[in-house]
């Protein structure tokens, strides 16, 4: 699994539970190192050991932790870059949802060897969507749930998300847009980033 993904989980755990808990997790995982590097590659086995150790140490179901990781990635100022990159997807939440089809390609534009599973947005009716997430990265749909929730806050919209389980091998997240402009969203300046 790409170092960026492992590193993102590490950043979430360290920021939420502290360095010490992360050290315990990595001790339990017994990988021989304590930090993931964002720009290196790790085997599935290494990542799975870390995830199993994390579930055990934090005593929470993995899907829940992964969803919180997704929320963290968008809402924490430490990782502002990702939120900004996602905001490039659209000027409102619906446009952002439609841009998710391009997410794996966009990710690959930024980091050539970062492969995310294909995702497809299906619009059932205005304001009612299914996001179909193809297999390939276990737990990715749960991270996406957290991202979707946090991005709704970012745009100031109110949404209801529901993980519908697996259909034909793909995970399905249903998205219901309850209210747009429900709250004041966060501002997004195209050029606010100092380059």
């Amino acid at each position: 699994m790409h170092g960026l993904i492992n590193r993102a989980i590490q950043a979430f755990v360290v920021s939420t539970y502290g360095e010490e808990r992360w050290s315990h997790i990595m001790d339990t995982a017994d990988l021989g190192f304590a930090q993931f590097e964002a720009m290196l590659f790790y085997t599935e086995e290494q990542s799975n050991k870390m995830l199993a150790a994390m579930e055990k140490q934090l005593e929470r179901p993995l899907p829940e932790i992964l969803e919180d990781t997704g929320t963290f990635l968008v809402s924490n100022p430490q990782v502002e870059a990702l939120r900004r990159l996602l905001r490039f997807g659209g000027v409102n939440y619906v446009e952002f949802l439609h841009s998710l089809d391009d997410l794996p390609d966009r990710a690959r534009l930024a980091v050539a060897d970062l492969h995310l599973p294909a995702i497809e947005l299906v619009e059932n009716s205005p304001g009612q969507f299914d996001l179909v997430c193809q297999p390939g990265l276990p737990g990715f749909a749960h991270v996406l749930m957290g991202v979707l929730r946090a991005m709704a806050d970012d745009y100031g919209d109110l949404v209801i998300l529901d993980h519908r389980g697996t259909q034909d091998g793909a995970e399905v997240i249903s998205i219901t847009l309850v209210e747009t402009d429900f709250a004041e969203g966060r501002t997004f300046d195209l050029g606010a980033h100092a380059l």
Binding site: L82, L85, V91, R106, L109, V111, L190, G191, H193, L195
Partner: protein, 340 residues
């Protein structure tokens, strides 16, 4: 036939940074994004050359010249600050009624987006500017992550190198470091002295008080050697209880004689360990690079220091001797006795 307003309404959407100028160079219409760059300017009625400084092609000095550029790339910038640079292309209007000039930011788009607070609504949906901004930002983030990794790897490399040249027990240099330093001194032709020091009675300390006591003694010995030498000298632990000291820039035996006496005296001071006193001494042999003909060989000098050391051991230990021609190391019965 469309009215001018209907036509500009369409152009506003497709290329929001256009200008319509008449044959005299006066501006009649400007696209919404272009207007946003100079919100307080009236645009209409001002001339193109009042607002813009045309940089290339250089031969363009009048509206007539400008019209002749049709289809080729124009480089210009605002006359007033911020002097954002723009690219453009001119298409003449039918009937000699002037021209439509479409503008874009080109590479200055990064500053422009910041300076003018532009949003994606200011660019046509078919314009790739937003994608370009995305890419610049994504690549900067990825590059930063790579840079951080490089910094950490470099730190780890320095630490690993440091470790590879350090004896972990004493913190002194190790044999590998000594080899490097000898090679450097010989390569640069610097005079130096090489002293081989071997501890006496160390084996007894190890045997009677244990290895932990032996380790404590070695650490104490290392400290004494560092204290007795200069910052520029090198102290290396090259074996269990063997040390090599390299004195850079020294070609005077007198200095070394005094130093070796002081060193041995200090090493004979008992080291307290676990309520007991560990007593050792040391023998040493020295050679000088200035005694060797060029090309100097590190192995030959180490061998000379070694022979001087064993001569010192044979002469009753706890003393220091300089290398002399004719010294022999391998006298079987004596070598057996000196297994300290």
């Amino acid at each position: 036939m469309m009215t001018a307003d209907e036509l500009t309404g369409i152009i506003d959407q497709i290329c929001p940074m256009y200008l319509v100028v008449d044959a005299g160079g006066r501006m009649h219409f400007a696209g919404p994004t272009l207007k946003k760059l100079r919100p307080d300017m009236s645009w209409k009625g001002m001339t193109f050359f009042e607002v813009f400084d045309l940089l290339r092609p250089r031969w363009v000095n009048s509206m007539d010249d400008l019209l002749k550029t049709a289809g080729t790339k124009l480089h210009m910038q605002f006359r007033e600050s911020p002097q954002t640079s723009l690219k453009g292309v001119l298409a003449p209007l039918p009937g000699g009624k002037g021209a439509l000039i479409n503008l874009s930011f080109g590479i200055s788009v990064l500053e422009a987006v910041r300076d003018y607070d532009l949003t994606s609504a200011d660019f046509s949906p078919t314009d790739l500017t937003i994608e370009m901004l995305y890419l610049v930002e994504a690549k900067s983030a990825a590059m930063e992550a790579s840079r951080q990794l490089n910094l950490r790897l470099q730190g780890a490399k320095i630490a690993a190198e440091e470790q590879a040249f350090t004896d972990t027990l004493t913190g002194l240099k190790n044999r590998r470091a000594m080899d490097h330093i000898l090679a450097r001194l010989i390569g640069s032709g610097t005079d130096f002295a090489l002293m081989h020091v071997d501890l006496d009675y160390f084996k007894e300390v190890n045997d009677t008080l244990g290895h932990a006591a032996g380790d404590a003694v070695l650490q104490s010995v290392a400290q004494v050697m560092v204290d007795c030498t200069r910052h520029t000298d090198t102290v290396a632990r090259v074996g269990g209880d063997e040390f090599v000291i390299i004195f850079e820039g020294v070609n005077e035996p007198k200095v070394l004689e005094a130093l070796s006496k002081r060193l041995i005296r200090r090493l004979e001071e008992p080291v307290p360990y676990g309520g007991k006193l560990c007593k050792i001494s040391a023998s040493a042999g020295t050679t000088l690079s200035s005694w060797n003909p060029a090309p100097i060989e590190a192995a030959a000098m180490l061998h000379q220091a070694d022979m001087a050391l064993y001569a010192a051991k044979r002469a009753g230990r706890s003393q220091h001797l300089f290398f002399e021609q004719g010294m022999q190391k391998d006298e079987p019965q004596v070598a057996a006795q000196s297994q300290a």
